[in-house]
Symmetry: C2
């Protein structure tokens, strides 16, 4: 906070940007970096490999016919991929010019820039109308900005090689008009440039980087402080607004991963060009926190699917950039080296070299994937995402609990949803986005229409849907105003970790309250998840709680009828039109269990039921005319006609299924019974009994939260005292 | 052949079996082996690991409460898994007694055998009625035999430790009655013991091994030469009948993998006990050939799905046994060491030690996964399976073509079906078996009913189904009489490899003829498959040619309507009741293409169409009340009302889809056109044109096959001459 205030003082009294101009390279790669890299070659095999990989890209570029086609195609199409490849090639060749001194690389960059400079003034908006923010080189301005981030770096590398006349030609015909376009052209671009959104970060970084490269203070000022240079928008404001104090990025990990690239790259450029801004210390080191928090949002190297998300691992180049730059600027963080070692590749730059060197010379600390609550909101007061973990490395059990704000335009309508990972596999998934990135025949590589009609809808997630509708009726403007609250988050005791959250606005007159515990206890082979989803209302509703699962159904004690000759959809809108109803069932017992197998382990959900409870087995894939959806199965619990209801479910991994050795153990659930023995405004109390004769009591506080408060709960006439928000114990101790 | 005749002479004149009795251990582990293993510990880390793994099993066994429960459960159930685990534990403890000299291990084996001996006389048939061949310890006698194979080895190891009185008790109450049961008890057991089937091999091996262990010549004679000791059945006859001269096992690779275990284990025991039988040289070394041929039936370490099959890799213990024993008995075969190295584990025995030592000391030759035709039938004249491969290691393209006999009770009704692997992935799969091995709630771990109604049916495979029926009307007794024929198999030219086969009996009055080529040619990024499926008949039929694919549909130029609100089945029997009809389409062009993405590569099928061709996109999963089926998609071509028709399709891998680096290239097929320019009794001629301006001509001979025959084909008034069965060339060369 202190740093922040100081910084704004400096800003107000310093209208001029102090740029280290005429120093080339000096944008991302520095002269010192060039010397160090040359001297280090042959010492760090993985760095050498990255160097050789980059050189191979540059050499390949020089061997090909140079093409700068008139823009035409969408993501994955020819011109799209060509322009993308061109900036990678320029970046590689520019870097290789600096590192080898061979002018053929510089000549390549210059020739290509000249071609772009010749073509650019002739371009109108991109012919493909797929986005409100159409670009010129690409179908959306975003990609034009990405192009410029990479090209600015290439330009800096060959700046001194190009004579002044050609530089002027390039700047006048390409970079100036491109900056004008990104900041003002196409009315929406102005808004995007000044927007608090990952697209805004790419825009400001692009403009700032080419501004530094050309020594243009005006551009840099706009990049840092917004179009009006008043600090109300721009890169610095993005650092204030887009991250919570914990470093959580409000759009979710998929876009945090994507925007971390310009955030860290541009920050490094600022550090090189204006070290007095101390950008990496800004807001208590928010960029460092951001890198760490995005890494925490991964299981087995794969980022969580939260909001719009596709499969991404932390081996991607953007995370290589993030980790190397973060380490260079905070070499005390030895855990980053663990990630860098796993990535096995490095930026060919000062930062990559520093990180590679440390991986070889320093003591690497294992990255601590831990239980953590990442608060959302620029002030950290807009709910958050809770991550509960137990066990080690890739065999961890990991549960995520979403109680955040909406997450801007990429947010999904799933308040209080959970996702479960175990044994290296995804057990209860989040569908993620419906998109085939860069596959042009699939909606031009953009989100398909099913992303709105399915991916974003509440029913697509492991949380309660009320009355067949989505949270906030699926209205972005309404959802954007609210956030869930985290009631409490407890991870001190690794045996019993609990998160509880509440959502009061998703449905008028309905309060949703979910408490989920990850419990390691005698009698269970693996950690079990105890999940209480409490719905309170004055009026009557239908509640659906789906559990999407990966794997093959094994058995259930529910009496069900499967539709074997004809399938119909579960509903007609709000995502229900995308679900085939495969089977329906009831039970006459007070518990129902459903078992499936995933990897070499069995999983059972045991849930409390009554005579009104309806069970449904559904499968995604209806209402999908273009084959855009996956066909994941789901076990869904429906409670019709209730005003107050609490779903209580235990998700239990058990047994072993080893097809190779042909060994099976414990295919059946170990839960003998689940009982909700008290459930009111103050407390919910669950009793669990196992088939191997263990019994447990779990109590959660439902209001007046506080981890040092004294509690006294009356159960069956006996009083239980505890301090804090929850209680868990073997039940026989009560007797 | 020479060895075989000689052997039978010996047999006829030698009514007595010459057993190396009183030598314990001497069955599988030998005294020399024990000395060698002791001396080698610490020298070969992977062998040490296998030793320690086995010791851990033995130590774990000793630390547990010993349980020999009354049999009750099916596969995967408690008593089933317990009895299975018991034989593994006895085997481990017996071996460890020999290798450590510590009597606690021997005591364990003895105690457990005593328990079995006490219980066995009290047992009736297993209470679960799931098999015609019910066992006593297990639900099927097969597993009783497997139990005895392992236990015989354990008994041999502790033979001298147990005093004679207890040995007599064990033999009298357990082994003798068990042998009696396996050979005669439960009327079906006699048939199985004398059957040419993998169950027969387990039975003869079990009886033979315990016979050798107890020094009982009668048992050994029956095991080797059948119940009547006349050589008309028994282990030796199985070697004659179950393998083709190439070593192909008629049930297919899944059961070859399973039966190779008793085949090789019992053979090693025979070698140790009666070296004069030269068992590993029998029938020109059929056992060695069998090991090599089963290894050839794998892609990326996974065995082909042919007939009843589940996923199995060659890391399984049975293949470890096969490879180690094969290597010990033929140390010239250095390619086996490549597999052993990949397996990374060894039998703790003479054979395992010899192999481990060689892996460390000898020059390993890469196992040559090559194009090969494995003939079926004991004389090698009942068709076969063709395997075409190109490229290296795990990126090979591999096509399998099934033209075999039925494959006994585990055979499927899919004559002339193909499967395609590429880029490390399965592209066009074979469904395999519908079974959840060892998962008791799933039909007791046995085949589910959908295995017959779906898995075995013709429509479940990538081949033509005529008139909505299955080959041979799905009648095993009929299908078992016939086999397809391989017309020709050409793999000399790695650029153009071709297999052609014919089936004349699957449908009365219909001849099926398929010719499939794997072609590497200029203009294509990767090898393409050219597939001609020619159907000839005097009457009119409906023909369905499905291509099951793994991956996500990307695009098609077919005009199709997808069923988005309701799904119905494609038919009501012969497997059609298990297919949901997702979409139907037509084209008004002469070619239709269908593209999907799998892994990081795109795949297109381009097929010749006319105005009558119907296209269907289906998905497995209908008619499945118990959630037993997967939900794989399929692209199906239907030609109604034809008497003579040739399906011509090109299956083309293309482009790159790298989601991590966000790079896409060539998502569209490169095929501009496919034309069938001549198609008659003698020749079929296909012309291919690519979008990058290549054109090719492919000719296959349809009769009078012969690879040195001169051919002259008239095409568009021009004559093409070639020698052999096929012709492939760039088309412009013709002009």
């Amino acid at each position: 906070m202190k740093v922040k205030h100081l910084f704004f003082l400096i800003l107000l009294f310093l209208p001029f940007i102090n740029i280290q101009a005429n120093q080339h390279p000096g944008l991302f790669l520095t002269s010192k970096g060039v010397r160090d890299i040359k001297a280090s070659l042959g010492k760090y095999p993985q760095f050498d490999k990255s160097y050789n990989d980059l050189k191979a890209i540059a050499d390949q570029a020089l061997s090909e016919k140079m093409e700068v086609p008139v823009p035409k195609d969408g993501g994955g199409g020819y011109t799209h991929e060509k322009h993308k490849n061109n900036y990678y090639q320029m970046n590689a060749a520019g870097t290789m010019y600096q590192l080898t001194g061979n002018e053929k690389y510089a000549q390549f960059v210059k020739d290509m820039l000249m071609k772009y400079a010749q073509m650019y003034p002739t371009l109108g908006l991109h012919p493909l109308v797929k986005s409100e923010v159409r670009g010129k080189l690409f179908w959306q301005t975003l990609n034009d900005a990405v192009w410029l981030v990479h090209t600015a770096n290439a330009y800096d590398c060959v700046y001194n090689f190009i004579d002044e006349k050609d530089r002027t030609f390039i700047e006048k015909n390409l970079f100036y008009p491109m900056v004008e376009f990104i900041t003002n052209g196409n009315p929406s671009n102005y808004a995007t440039f000044n927007k608090m959104h990952n697209h805004g970060t790419w825009s400001t970084s692009a403009v700032g980087m080419i501004g530094y490269a050309m020594g243009n203070k005006e551009m840099v000022a706009k990049a840092l402080y917004g179009s009006n240079k008043d600090g109300k928008s721009g890169f610095i404001k993005q650092l204030d607004v887009l991250f919570s104090p914990d470093g959580y990025f409000t759009e979710g990990p998929y876009y945090q991963r994507y925007s971390i690239w310009p955030f860290m790259t541009f920050a490094q450029v600022i550090q090189n060009q204006q070290p007095e801004l101390n950008i990496f210390q800004y807001r208590d080191g928010i960029l460092q926190k951001s890198v760490n928090s995005v890494l925490q949002c991964a299981y087995n190297g794969e980022f969580f699917f939260l909001n719009d998300a596709l499969l991404k691992t932390y081996d991607t180049q953007e995370i290589v950039y993030a980790v190397d730059i973060a380490y260079k600027n905070n070499p005390a963080d030895k855990q980053l080296l663990d990630i860098a070692r796993q990535q096995g590749s490095f930026i060919v730059s000062d930062e990559g070299l520093a990180t590679a060197k440390a991986v070889y010379q320093e003591k690497i600390q294992p990255f601590d994937f831990k239980s953590i609550l990442l608060h959302d909101g620029s002030k950290g007061d807009e709910g958050g995402i809770g991550i509960l973990r137990t066990g080690t490395e890739n065999k961890q059990t990991c549960l995520t609990f979403k109680g955040t704000s909406h997450g801007l335009s990429h947010g999904h309508y799933d308040k209080l949803s959970i996702v479960l990972y175990d044994n290296g596999n995804t057990i209860l998934p989040d569908y993620g986005a419906v998109r085939f990135l860069n596959i042009e025949p699939k909606s031009g590589g953009n989100y398909t229409k099913e992303n709105s009609t399915w991916g974003m809808q509440t029913i697509a997630h492991n949380t309660v849907t009320v009355d067949n509708r989505s949270d906030f009726n699926g209205e972005f403007k309404v959802s954007g105003k609210y956030h869930s609250d985290i009631n409490y988050f407890e991870s001190k005791n690794p045996q019993v970790q609990v998160i509880s959250g509440e959502e009061r606005n998703a449905y008028p007159g309905v309060v949703l309250n979910r408490t989920t515990a990850l419990i390691t206890a005698k009698g269970f082979e693996y950690p079990v998840t105890l999940d209480l989803f409490k719905v309170k209302s004055d009026s009557v509703h239908q509640l659906d709680l789906p559990f999407y699962y990966y794997g093959q159904m094994v058995m259930t004690d529910i009496k069900y009828q499967k539709n074997t000759k004809e399938l119909k959809t579960l509903g007609s809108n709000n995502g229900y039109q995308h679900l085939w109803l495969e089977a329906t069932g009831k039970t006459n017992k007070s518990n129902a269990s459903f078992t499936w197998v995933n990897g070499n382990r069995f999983y059972s959900i045991t849930t409390i039921a009554n005579e009104n409870t309806q069970f449904m087995m559904t499968r995604i894939g209806a209402g999908d005319p273009d084959f855009n959806l996956r066909n994941d199965p789901c076990f869904m619990i429906r409670q019709p006609n209730v005003s107050n209801h609490t779903f209580v479910s235990v998700i239990e991994p058990h047994g072993l299924y080893d097809l190779s050795r042909e060994v099976t153990t414990n295919f059946d659930t170990n839960i003998a019974s689940v009982e909700l023995i008290r459930d009111d405004e103050s407390y919910s109390v669950v009793k669990l009994e196992t088939k191997n004769n263990q019994s447990f009591l779990f109590i959660t506080v439902n209001r007046d939260f506080g981890d040092s408060k004294d509690r006294k709960v009356l159960i069956n006439g006996k009083s239980i005292s505890f301090i804090g928000n929850y209680y868990f114990s073997a039940y026989n101790k009560l007797k």
